[in-house]
């Protein structure tokens, strides 16, 4: 397409040149493609012993459900998890990037990661992209200073709260939290409240649906409860099974492993100079 290379700013980083081109094209009447958002309900709350994060599992492409069971609770560190709402690619990329930065930091400092470290790395990145990285995150974890829960918005602002919701279903979920949250919830009460809030999003928001994922983080321990609740099972399955028309050939099913078995031979002696 374009022959000339796009100018890279001297200090590196994102080049906004194409944004000027896009503006010019929209002014001339070209309709820009719409962004693919994950309509979502993500929540977090602080309970007696730590933090509980929750998320629905529907990923949408406009009006179509692209993934009925996606994972929105991303791993950041052994003691820190992050739920992501907004553009799926942005949330995945930014959480993966900060997760690796945290691991390198752990190697350097020989200490467990702290939640505010993840918070500062995320907020610096999102602010420098001025809201164009459309990632709205609920970050929660337990570190040496205690349990923490933060929300991070695409423009880079953060809030620290005892309970938080984000995504298109956030209003439905927040109404449940505002009615029922109290300090010092037990683990079971907390899980039940989070599940209730996510269900409220699943049933009342069109952009959220399918199952409930929950992650419980306490001091020194985490539990990732994938598909903790499945309130939308497939109710009709034909008892006769599915038959294909005669012309369809079912070929032999064969699984070929791509990697051959690797033999490790015992090394004799260490090399010496």
């Amino acid at each position: 397409m374009s022959q000339s290379a796009v100018d890279v700013p001297p200090k590196g980083g994102f080049s906004f040149d194409l944004c000027k081109r896009n503006d010019m094209l929209t002014q001339k009447g070209l309709k820009a493609p719409s962004f693919l958002k994950t309509g979502t309900t993500i929540v977090g709350l602080i309970f007696k012993d730590g933090v509980i994060l929750g998320a629905d599992t529907r990923a949408t492409e406009g009006p179509i459900v692209a993934d009925k069971n996606c994972e929105k609770i991303h791993y950041m560190a052994p003691n820190i998890y992050c739920c992501g709402a907004g553009t799926a690619a942005d949330t995945e990329a930014v959480t993966d990037m900060v997760s690796s930065q945290l691991r390198l930091h752990r190697y350097q400092t020989s200490r467990d990661s702290r939640v505010i470290t993840a918070l500062t790395l995320l907020k610096k990145h999102l602010f420098s992209y001025q809201g164009h990285v459309s990632a709205a995150l609920v970050l929660g974890g337990v570190d040496i200073t205690g349990p923490h829960l933060h929300t991070i918005y695409p423009h880079g602002s953060t809030d620290t709260l005892p309970f938080a919701t984000m995504g298109s279903g956030s209003l439905a979920a927040m109404s449940v939290f505002e009615a029922k949250y109290k300090e010092g919830l037990t683990r079971d009460e907390g899980i039940q409240l989070v599940a209730e809030a996510i269900c409220s999003g699943i049933f009342n928001d069109l952009g959220s649906g399918s199952n409930v994922d929950i992650c419980v983080i306490t001091k020194g321990n985490k539990e990732y409860l994938r598909n903790y609740m499945e309130p939308n099972p497939r109710t009709y399955v034909s008892s006769k099974g599915y038959s294909f028309t005669k012309k369809t050939e079912v070929l032999l099913t064969k699984i070929t492993p791509l990697l051959e078995r690797v033999e490790i031979t015992e090394v004799g002696e260490a090399m010496e100079e």
């Binding site: 907020k123 918005y153 423009h155 602002s157 809030d159 709260l161 956030s170 209003l171």
Partner: protein, 233 residues
């Protein structure tokens, strides 16, 4: 009605800084809005820069957080280099350098207040654009529009600490009553030679103004209070 949840976070806000004989009182509401939705109803807009200097933030939440983070870092270095606490004037100047040099990209109005041993309690207002104005009192944010007349009448020199704090709480509460983008609780920070005191006034404990109703827990209480249930046959 479109809530516009993609709008950048802004703190509609009411922020106030007032000097009294001996120090300063800073005050703010606690509402952070995204379009028409209240994203955080209990935010803390009075941020610490050093032990003796605090800043009230208004405007874009992201911009004001980043500016105060940078200035806190610069002041920390400055304190180490000087070997003594930073003055309020230096803190205000650092904020001003960032606000003025990035005026095209930032949208945040700030009020810096603190106490140092050279000048005592001082308030500096730094609105959009990056001017610095040293004032006996400063107001900012969307709710401040409703307070100009109030302060012209109510502010006086040499108030006591209690008078100043009551003035600030009253003013924020009046602004909350009239400004949709301000709400929640009233937070105050008092800074003087003895140190820093943080106070918190929940929304339902504030004085009621003209035509304001008593806070209620549920619409059902209001409806049932209208009259007894009709008799059942």
């Amino acid at each position: 009605m479109d809530l516009n949840l993609d709008a950048p976070h802004s703190m509609g806000t009411t922020i106030i800084g007032v000097t009294y004989n001996g120090g300063v009182v800073l005050g703010a509401d606690s509402r952070t809005s995204t379009g028409m939705y209240v994203a955080n109803r209990a935010s803390d807009k009075i941020t610490q820069l050093t032990d003796n200097v605090y800043v009230c933030r208004s405007g874009s939440a992201a911009d004001s957080q980043v500016v105060s983070d940078y200035v806190r870092y610069f002041l920390h270095q400055h304190t180490i280099q000087q070997g003594q606490p930073a003055t309020v004037k230096v803190s205000a100047n650092l904020i001003r350098m960032l606000a003025y040099n990035n005026k095209n990209m930032l949208q945040t109005g700030l009020i810096v207040g603190g106490w140092d041993k050279y000048e005592g309690g001082k308030i500096y207002g730094i609105p959009l654009g990056g001017t610095v104005v040293e004032q006996p009192f400063a107001i900012g944010g969307s709710g401040s529009s409703y307070l100009y007349g109030f302060f012209d009448q109510a502010w006086k020199e040499d108030m006591t600490k209690e008078e100043a704090e009551q003035l600030v709480v009253k003013a924020v509460s009046l602004a909350i009553a009239r400004d949709g983008a301000s709400g929640g609780v009233v937070r105050t920070v008092i800074i003087n030679s003895e140190g820093v005191t943080r106070n918190f006034y929940p929304g339902d404990k504030l004085q009621l103004w003209h035509e304001e109703l008593e806070p209620q827990n549920s619409l059902l209480d209001i409806l049932n209070a209208a009259g007894p249930e009709p008799m059942a046959m």
